[in-house]
């Protein structure tokens, strides 16, 4: 029978706390940047210009159809060889995760926009609004309501995806856990605590998503 000993971890509490903060900050930045990417790519998907549609299609498929871990390694180790631009591990992590998340957000955003009745767009145009104003004032405010639950779901996945950046030695929760595990020879306790921390942060978030999905269903 294994002899659990969590006391050993007490001296690592600040390290794990810092790791948790890094993970949360990382998630926050990749969600914001990813949404921005997703909005641009999602709008490009329904653009009048075939070129923009093609570029965004290529971007979305490229990031959706390759493993995130491979993308992370490629951006950190391969891209500098190609471009000569060195990136810190954090920069590479934020860049890759934002682009990866953006490719999924883009589909959600495009899907939300096309469900809005064509008559709304026509009514806006008929008033004399430019297409960009119609999008911002009339289509997006209506579409966002339906986009929120899937966007939140995707962001929860992104929170978990940040754990992959430990391979680039970004000091996130998992990376700090790994160093604690190596030093203490107590991987069972360490990784159990790490899992619990992820769980404790995400459970309330998934509850919020559930609630917002329900609110959306009831509002129709």
């Amino acid at each position: 029978m294994y002899n659990w000993d969590f006391n050993i971890l007490w001296s690592y509490r600040w390290l794990l706390f810092e790791g948790t903060l890094v993970t949360i900050a990382l998630t926050a930045s990749i969600v914001v940047l990813g949404l921005l990417m997703g909005l641009i790519a999602g709008l490009a998907q329904i653009s009048r210009f075939a070129f923009l549609r093609w570029v965004s299609w290529a971007y979305i498929e490229l990031f959706r159809c390759t493993p995130l871990l491979v993308q992370l390694l490629w951006f950190y180790y391969a891209l500098p060889i190609l471009t000569g631009i060195e990136m810190s591990a954090i920069t590479a992590a934020v860049l890759t995760l934002s682009l990866y998340g953006g490719s999924f957000y883009a589909e959600v955003i495009r899907g939300g926009i096309v469900t809005i009745d064509a008559g709304q767009r026509e009514a806006g145009l008929a008033l004399g609004l430019t297409p960009a104003r119609v999008m911002r004032r009339i289509i997006l405010p209506q579409a966002i309501k339906q986009m929120i639950p899937p966007l939140m779901n995707q962001s929860i996945i992104q929170f978990k995806n940040t754990s992959l950046v430990s391979v680039l030695a970004v000091p996130d929760l998992l990376y700090q856990g790994q160093s604690a595990a190596t030093e203490t020879y107590r991987p069972l306790e360490v990784y159990t605590v790490i899992a619990i921390i992820y769980f404790v942060v995400l459970v309330p978030l998934t509850a919020i998503v559930k609630k917002s999905e329900k609110a959306l269903r009831e509002s129709d």
């Binding site: 009745d117 008559g119 709304q120 026509e122 009514a123 806006g124 145009l125 008929a126 008033l127 004399g128 609004l129 430019t130 297409p131 960009a132 104003r133 004032r137 009339i138 405010p141 209506q142």
Partner: protein
């Protein structure tokens, strides 16, 4: 460049969707303050003509002038930019069969949207204008409710106020009473009647033949993408010259 005394001039207008020719060669001149009823069988191109007039459909060929604003289409012309199209559309207010009110805005905000977002009018000024127009269509007490709470007739009156808020040169109506319960039709027609009496230039696509006869100055009968007959409303409806017009109208007389 008000070449002649017409408010609207449409010449040699053509439009096809793929192989389907919808407008063959439309020529129409409309005097200021005239009320035109556009009638014709389903699929004859009435909606397409109306939508061409505010560029929701871009014509293949021909030209359109509304007030001082003119566009040419077809060979040797470049497609007007999004900004130019938006400016042109301000001259023509459009009212749709299915209202197309903005559900995320109150009635007042719906009416303010054009002036605020297309003309950059200050909000306070736009609100005053919007209330004035809501009073005109008899809905000032509904200013702060959302469109979902209105009846079809009320929605359509808001849609008319929303279009009027842009102070257009001409109002375009596309079967605006077709989606309404019969008892709600008259409140919308009465608003349109008032507008006509005020001297607004109007083009009305309608199946309400009695209304067309009463309110319109000119009736234009379309079939298969061409104007078959046009003339003073009573003349065209009571004593049509063309066989096509006669058989179309017979369908209505026997029904009512």
């Amino acid at each position: 460049m008000i070449a002649e005394n017409y408010k609207i001039e449409i010449s040699s207008l053509k439009k096809q969707f793929g192989d389907l020719v919808v407008l063959r060669d439309i020529n129409l001149k409309i005097a200021p303050g005239a009320v035109i009823a556009l009638i014709g069988p389903s699929g004859s191109g009435k909606s397409t003509l109306l939508r061409c007039m505010n560029l929701l459909v871009i014509p293949d060929d021909g030209s359109i002038r509304i007030g001082n604003d003119a566009f040419k289409f077809g060979h040797g012309t470049s497609l007007p930019s999004a900004r130019e199209q938006a400016r042109f559309r301000r001259g023509a207010g459009m009212v749709f069969q299915h209202f197309n009110l903005f559900p995320h805005m109150t009635v007042l905000q719906n009416v303010m949207e054009g002036p605020v977002s297309a003309k950059n009018m200050p909000k306070a000024e736009a609100a005053v204008l919007a209330r004035k127009l809501l009073a005109k269509v008899g809905l000032v007490d509904k200013a702060d409710v959302y469109p979902q709470r209105l009846s079809g007739g009320q929605k359509q009156r808001v849609a008319i106020a929303r279009a009027l808020a842009m102070e257009p040169e001409v109002m375009l109506f596309d079967e605006v009473t077709s989606a309404l319960d019969p008892e709600l039709v008259s409140e919308v027609l009465s608003v349109m009647r008032d507008l006509a009496a005020e001297g607004m230039t109007m083009i009305i696509v309608t199946h309400e033949i009695a209304f067309a006869r009463e309110v319109a100055d000119i009736v234009v009968f379309m079939r298969d993408g061409v104007i078959v007959e046009e003339g003073p409303a009573r003349e065209v409806i009571d004593t049509p010259k063309q066989e096509g017009t006669r058989s179309f109208l017979r369908h209505f007389h026997t029904r009512s």
